[in-house]
């Protein structure tokens, strides 16, 4: 196999006496949808935060397309093609949906130290924003202020914002969180489309969704990787079954 798109090696992050990320290594190949699952408190968000640059690891390394990004600030990683969505929706609430996406496009289209021309009249940025909104099915809500969007729409907008930066790798932190059944189904469908275009790391609690979408799954428990493999292997893995006692039927019956 060629150089993986994302390589995480022996990552360690402690909070006081607790080792939240314990020697985690994983590879994400280009074109792959790699899911990270684990019970509550397994350290999924801590791991994601180290991938996005919001948290520094104590040791180990993260590299993107062969380049070491372990200690790069978030905005530099983004420039290298790493985009993320937030577990708790994080958008510019007093901006319109189109503005939110256009700003993401703007960050990757030349300098933003331009003080005079009206940015909302830049065709290329508006077009990029509308294309990304269209991609997630939100085009008809383009000029609505985010404050007035529903929770489901905001989740989709998060995705549009991430897409607008034309990422190589998309880090999705629980995109289904708080979505209803129909909304979840729409999101799964959307991710199924997107995975054809971009590599994705998906952190998610929704097991049916994970098993429907993932090429490979890494299971975290207490900050440690206990299993990694394709959905069939993970489904058959005894350690995983034990860790997920309550969710066992989900793991074995869906997909």
């Amino acid at each position: 196999m060629a150089e993986p798109l994302l390589r995480v090696e022996k990552l360690v992050r402690r909070f006081g006496g607790i080792v939240a990320t314990d020697n985690v290594s994983l590879d994400v190949a280009a074109g792959e949808l790699h899911a990270i699952i684990g019970p509550n408190g397994a350290g999924k968000t801590t791991l994601i935060s180290q991938l996005t640059g919001h948290l520094e690891p104590h040791s180990g390394s993260v590299s993107l397309a062969g380049r070491d990004i372990t200690y790069l600030p978030a905005y530099r990683r983004c420039a290298l093609g790493l985009a993320r969505s937030f577990q708790i929706t994080s958008l510019l609430l007093d901006f319109t949906a189109a503005d939110n996406v256009a700003l993401a496009a703007q960050a990757h289209a030349g300098t933003s130290f331009r003080f005079f021309a009206n940015a909302r009249k830049e065709r290329s940025l508006r077009d990029a924003a509308h294309a990304a909104l269209d991609r997630v099915g939100l085009l008809h809500r383009a000029d609505v202020v985010v404050n007035r969007l529903s929770h489901g729409e905001r989740r989709e907008l998060e995705l549009a914002v991430a897409l607008a930066s034309k990422p190589k790798l998309l880090l999705l932190d629980e995109p289904m969180a708080g979505l209803g059944v129909t909304e979840s189904q729409r999101m799964v469908k959307l991710l199924q489309e997107l995975r054809k275009e971009v590599s994705i790391v998906l952190v998610e609690h929704d097991m049916p969704a994970v098993f429907a979408l993932a090429d490979r799954i890494t299971v975290l428990v207490y900050g440690r990787v206990i299993a990694s493999g394709d959905p069939a292997a993970i489904r058959a893995n005894e350690d995983v079954k034990r860790a997920y006692l309550g969710d066992q039927h989900v793991v074995t019956h869906h997909g």
Binding site: Y75, C78, L93, A102, T111, A117, N118, A119, A164
Partner: protein
């Protein structure tokens, strides 16, 4: 979109009033009103510059009066040293303000929230004490500017009407610049940072750089107000930098409407007129002014511009 609204109508009326004021002053022989409004316009310019970082950028600077002093002292000190040309004085005033903003901003922007307010306040107080210590330039007593900036016949600052229009042109020019900036790429980034800094970092914007540049632009604009103010009063003293003046500027911005283009002008006009007339009635004018401001802030969220906006919607 471009429909008629109450706030637009009031703004237009106010601007028309400002443009025609010298005419009224001439016809009625009321010179005092022209002097008063020259001062109002200069402080409106300072408030507008503060609004750029406070209203649009979400940076609550409590030390903005420092630039009034720096701009003013640049003019006063150069005049004292025999450099009377405005073509030198004004650029020096702007450059000194920009430099001060760059240094203060680089240090202050490491903090946020209350700490940012306190650190900008602390730096302004430092500037105040430095000015008080300038024995050669009057120290505590301040510095008299015996001759106004000389623009070699282009415009005569000693002529009240000409000076008034110069100040008004500067104010409108700055408002125009702010309007362009706010809608530019840079302006959208700064407003995005006010709204959600974490999100802006995640989509690829290094927050501090943009904030710092915005801080410097704002400080430079306020330095211009300082240079004009020294010419207006023919005098500059540490008092213009005192923290209460910074507070006044904040009140003007909040009163008029944070993050609106013309709010700061509205705020400056109302605040300074109130101050002027209430202080003629009683020396305890602050007792009336305080509750009045409280009422507007409590019930008129978004300041006067906010009130007018709601009135327009009926």
């Amino acid at each position: 979109m471009k429909s008629f609204t109450v706030s637009k109508a009031v703004t237009a009326l106010m601007l028309a009033g400002l443009v025609l004021l010298p005419l009224y002053s001439q016809l009625s022989g009321n010179i005092f009103i022209l002097t008063l409004f020259t001062r109002i316009i200069i402080l409106a310019l300072a408030a507008a510059s503060l609004n750029l970082i406070m209203g649009f950028g979400g940076m609550m600077s409590f030390g903005h009066a420092a630039y009034l002093g720096i701009g003013g002292y640049a003019v006063g000190m150069l005049a004292q040293e025999g450099v009377g040309s405005g073509f030198i004085q004004f650029p020096v005033a702007l450059a000194a303000s920009a430099l001060y903003a760059l240094v203060i901003g680089a240090l202050s922007l490491r903090t946020r929230g209350v700490y940012f307010i306190m650190i900008t306040l602390a730096f302004a107080q430092m500037a105040y004490y430095v000015a008080s210590g300038l024995a050669r330039y009057g120290g505590d007593d301040g510095l008299t500017v015996y001759k106004r900036s000389d623009f070699s016949g282009l415009i005569n600052l000693s002529n009240r009407t000409q000076f008034y229009y110069l100040c008004l042109a500067c104010l409108l020019g700055v408002i125009f610049l702010i309007w362009r900036i706010v809608n530019s790429r840079f302006g959208l980034v700064v407003q995005g940072l006010r709204s959600n800094e974490q999100r802006m970092q995640a989509i690829g914007f290094p927050a501090k750089r943009y904030k710092l540049v915005c801080f410097v632009i704002s400080g430079t604009m306020c330095g211009l107000a300082g240079a004009l103010l020294a010419n207006n009063t023919d005098f500059v003293s540490p008092a213009v930098m005192y923290w209460t003046r910074s507070g006044d500027l904040m009140v003007m911005v909040i009163l008029g409407g944070m993050g609106t283009l013309f709010g700061p002008i509205m705020g400056a006009v109302v605040f300074l007129l109130l101050e002027e007339f209430l202080s003629q009635i009683t020396e305890y004018w602050a007792l009336i002014m305080g509750p009045l401001l409280l009422l507007i802030v409590l019930f008129g969220r978004g300041g006067i511009m906010g009130l007018l906006g709601r009135a327009g919607r009926g």
